[in-house]
């Protein structure tokens, strides 16, 4: 049987997480179909058809799917799900909002935040805020899954040539209405949602010196964070704090500047996909977890990095 991926898309573009979800789908052993529901989604459908590994794109173009409200999307998914062995959605706020509603309509369980596929019915997912990984087996006829993007590579955005087929829309449900959105347009993204986070620690030395770290964050379009030590020392306000008692982040890239790597800080960023550490103390514990470690004086290395990134 085939496998269905519920695509997430915004403003005519496929969301990146959809591509990672497609990769997960290809590991389940069946043709991969992608559902694109929305209004005026021809462009998105085309993009989906070009994704490597996708056999078919199923589209629904109607006003009541425009805002991705689960009250409408979930019944739509449920209406075609019986044709599939698996229904996947990215574990984004979109997928988390829609997918469980669809699962309940199908009277099946959902497996959330899957990071690895062991077999068609067995999946690995984090529990206890990532302190442990559970290998879970589903006995349902249809497996509904949300996929954590960091667990899978993105499928190729081009090279595919899937067919595109319309699907009958489900009746509009108007119990929910989107009133508006406030998408972060500020220079710096929000710490817990940012793709890249640059954090400064005690080594930065002063509030004034934090400019150095901020310059790197700006260059990368990253959020700015800090260790507890930097917050306690008054370098930055406490909503910058990443760590056990601050914010928990899991960006694609986490750059720790002048941070020793106390376990309380690590607890806040250990799920980052790539960790870079810049610290002049070669023994700093952060190097134990950093994928790339640079033993250097941050006051030289960071400006140098900003310059290098400009090339």
């Amino acid at each position: 049987m085939a496998v269905l991926v519920i695509a997430e898309h915004h403003n005519g573009r496929l969301a990146a997480a959809t591509l990672n979800t497609v990769t997960a789908a290809t590991q389940l052993g069946g043709d991969v179909h992608v559902l694109v529901a929305g209004e005026n989604i021809a462009q998105v459908a085309k993009a989906a058809a070009q994704v490597g590994g996708v056999a078919k794109v199923r589209t629904v173009d109607a006003a009541h799917y425009k805002d991705a409200l689960p009250e409408n999307v979930a019944p739509l998914v449920a209406s075609i799900a019986k044709e599939y062995s698996h229904v996947l959605a990215p574990a984004t706020t979109f997928g988390k909002n829609v997918s469980p509603r669809a699962a309940a309509l199908l009277d099946v369980a959902q497996i959330s935040d899957v990071v690895a596929v062991e077999s068609a019915d067995t999946f690995v997912r984090p529990i206890y805020a990532g302190s442990a990984m559970a290998t879970v087996q589903s006995s349902d006829a249809i497996k509904v899954i949300t996929v954590r993007a960091t667990g899978f590579d993105a499928a190729a955005a081009g090279g595919g040539s899937a067919s595109v087929e319309p699907v009958t829309a489900t009746a509009p449900v108007d119990s929910a209405k989107l009133l508006g959105q406030e998408l972060t347009k500020s220079e710096r993204p929000e710490l817990t949602a940012a793709r890249i986070v640059v954090s400064g620690g005690r080594g930065v030395g002063s509030a004034e010196n934090f400019k150095v770290v901020a310059a790197l964050a700006d260059k990368l379009g990253a959020a700015l964070g800090a260790s507890r030590a930097a917050v306690d020392a008054g370098f930055v306000p406490n909503d910058y704090q990443v760590g056990q008692t601050g914010k928990i982040v899991a960006p694609e890239l986490y750059i720790a500047v002048g941070i020793s790597g106390a376990i309380q800080h690590l607890a806040g960023m250990k799920d980052s996909r790539v960790i870079v550490a810049i610290n002049k103390d070669a023994d700093a514990p952060i190097f134990q977890v950093a994928d790339y470690g640079l033993v250097a004086d941050l006051f030289q290395a960071v400006p140098e990095m900003v310059a290098e990134l400009g090339k």
Partner: protein, 542 residues
């Protein structure tokens, strides 16, 4: 809120007292209301002990404890006493061990789990147990008698002003208030000062116990094995020793007690404990194992001579708030339970006579004729002998016990710990090895395992009488010993990038409520007060 009895502290003494009051009340059909408050988030959250327990106290309190499922599951099967040198060790034959080191009939337990069980027994008897509430202030009536305690306000910001979450503490009034805060209880100290309870007592002396819980490989595990060591890594003039107890579930409790009368300000009890584990006769236990718990607590060591007057109008002190721990046996839970029982017995009799807010003189009188008194009396010279040269002291204590059977015609005396610290310039710094992250660890990853947490936006509960002293005196003269004796990394000397402008940074959120700073600060400038209730460590199985 009015009760007949308020108990401050949910440790073995407080719980035993509460249980005993209810047992006695039930016998006579009297209705005695008992309210027990505990600052930890649950009963047992702040309990940390070795522990090898003498069941004597529990046998008297709840004779059918076994049938009721008390967690005394590992009887002691073997005692070992070893003297460690840097690379070797020699074992003292058990035949030469004084009675206080024999543990037949005792159990290796988690005192935290026992307290949790005692809490359930107390609630089943109708004691109102409220965890998450700290006793912050003693209340006095217009005659100056203790009329109860007030719980701490919640939701006060760092600036001292109420936040949106502010909840005022409540006043708990009682006919008798029992103070059972454990070693160096803050309210106990205030009561001692106010009622002059230490007038005829020696100053209390203390040790800091730092403990880890390990899960070891099955082949390393010997349930019931009790090991004590003295010697390395502590020098001959530093009181202390280690304990290593094998419990159930392949768990081993291991720790080091360092007497807080140590002289060298460069000494770090935490790092002494870490390097102790590397000793060739100790490390094998932990190979292939994993550390699952960490914590620290000060313990009273002064025993008999350091006991204050136990009663004052309206209340009394029980357990280690008074200091009933037997330093020679390093056991205090059995005497804590017994003291709670004795106070309860005196209290119920007084209530039956319609008394309240007066001195329960029957309690100290009962203590004086109890087995507790006899035990503490016979061990009384232990700490004084051990406060000087350890080897000489051991010999002399041996004489005290084996020749005089603890009834030597003299009683030696104690000097306060904080007065003993020498200046940094007069002492040799100690070069401690770096932690390897497998057998030895750093403070922060240790504190992590204690699950300690505090609302960050509250006034620091480590208060300073004089804010200039930490730099002018502690740093100048003693090289900031608090940065070393604190087992949780609360104190740091922060400096500007150029090394100038040193200041004491207090990371209050790390505090594990051990009370060592309150004890050892050379000018007694640090005063520990309870942060808002329900915070601090959440010990499990400790």
């Amino acid at each position: 809120m009015e009760f007949d009895v308020v108990v401050v502290g949910g440790g073995p003494a407080g719980l035993a007292a509460a249980i005993r009051v209810k047992q006695l009340a039930a016998e006579t059909g009297a209705d005695v209301s008992v309210c027990l408050i505990e600052k930890g988030s649950e009963i047992g959250a702040h309990i940390l002990s070795g522990a090898v327990m003498d069941p004597r106290g529990l046998n008297e309190l709840l004779p059918n404890w076994k049938a009721r499922g008390a967690p005394l599951n590992t009887p002691v099967t073997e005692d070992r006493f070893q003297f460690l040198t840097r690379r070797g060790s020699w074992r003292l034959p058990n035949s030469l061990l004084p009675a206080c080191f024999h543990n037949e009939g005792n159990y290796v337990i988690s005192l935290g789990n026992l307290c949790r069980w005692l809490g359930q027994q107390a609630e089943a008897l109708g004691v109102e147990v409220y965890a998450g509430f700290a006793g912050a202030e003693v209340l006095y009536d217009d005659k100056g008698a203790v009329k109860g305690v007030a719980t701490s306000d919640m939701g006060i910001g760092k600036d001292g002003k109420p936040t949106d979450a502010y909840q005022r503490g409540v006043e708990l009034h009682a006919k008798y208030t029992l103070f059972a805060e454990g070693c160096r209880g803050q309210l106990g100290l205030q009561l001692e000062a106010r009622f002059n309870l230490r007038e005829r007592a020696d100053p209390q002396v203390y040790g800091i116990g730092i403990k880890e819980l390990w899960e070891v490989k099955p082949e390393r595990h010997k349930p019931g094995l009790v090991v004590h060591t003295a010697g390395w890594p502590l020098s001959n003039d530093t009181y202390g020793g280690s304990f290593l107890y094998h419990m159930e579930n392949r768990q081993v409790a291991v720790g080091l007690v360092v007497g807080l009368g140590y002289k060298n300000p460069h000494l770090s009890p935490f790092e002494e404990f870490q390097r102790y584990k590397t000793h060739p006769s100790i490390r094998p236990f932990f190979e292939g194992g994993r550390r699952i718990g960490y914590g620290a607590r000060a313990i009273t060591a002064g025993g008999f001579q350091a006991l204050p007057k136990l009663v004052f109008p309206g209340g009394c002190m029980i357990g280690d708030d008074a200091g009933f721990l037997n330093g020679a046996r390093i056991k205090g839970s059995h005497t804590a339970i017994k003291s709670g029982m004795l106070a309860a017995e005196a209290l119920v009799l007084a209530l039956a006579k319609g008394r309240g807010r007066d001195e329960l003189e029957a309690y100290p009188a009962a203590y004086r004729t109890s087995w507790m008194h006899d035990e503490l009396y016979r061990a009384r010279n232990f700490k004084p002998w051990m406060s000087g040269n350890m080897l000489f002291g051991t010999l002399m204590f041996g004489v005290d016990q084996q020749v005089f059977r603890g009834r030597a015609p003299w009683t030696l005396h104690l000097k306060a710990d904080h007065t003993k610290l020498k200046k940094a310039s007069e002492c040799t710094p100690i070069d401690y090895p770096k932690p390897d992250g497998v057998l030895t660890f750093d403070r922060l990853s240790s504190v992590f395992l204690s699950n300690t947490h505090h609302e960050e936006n509250q006034p620091a509960h480590l208060t300073l009488k004089d804010s200039g002293v930490p730099i002018k005196i502690n740093l100048e003269l003693y090289d900031a010993p608090e940065t070393r004796y604190c087992p949780a990394g609360v104190y740091e000397i922060a400096r500007d990038p150029d090394g100038g402008n040193p200041r004491l940074q207090i990371n209050a959120a790390n505090c594990v409520h051990c009370k060592t700073c309150d004890i050892k600060d050379p000018t007694q400038n640090i005063v520990w007060v309870a942060p808002q209730g329900g915070e601090g460590p959440v010990y499990s199985g400790m």
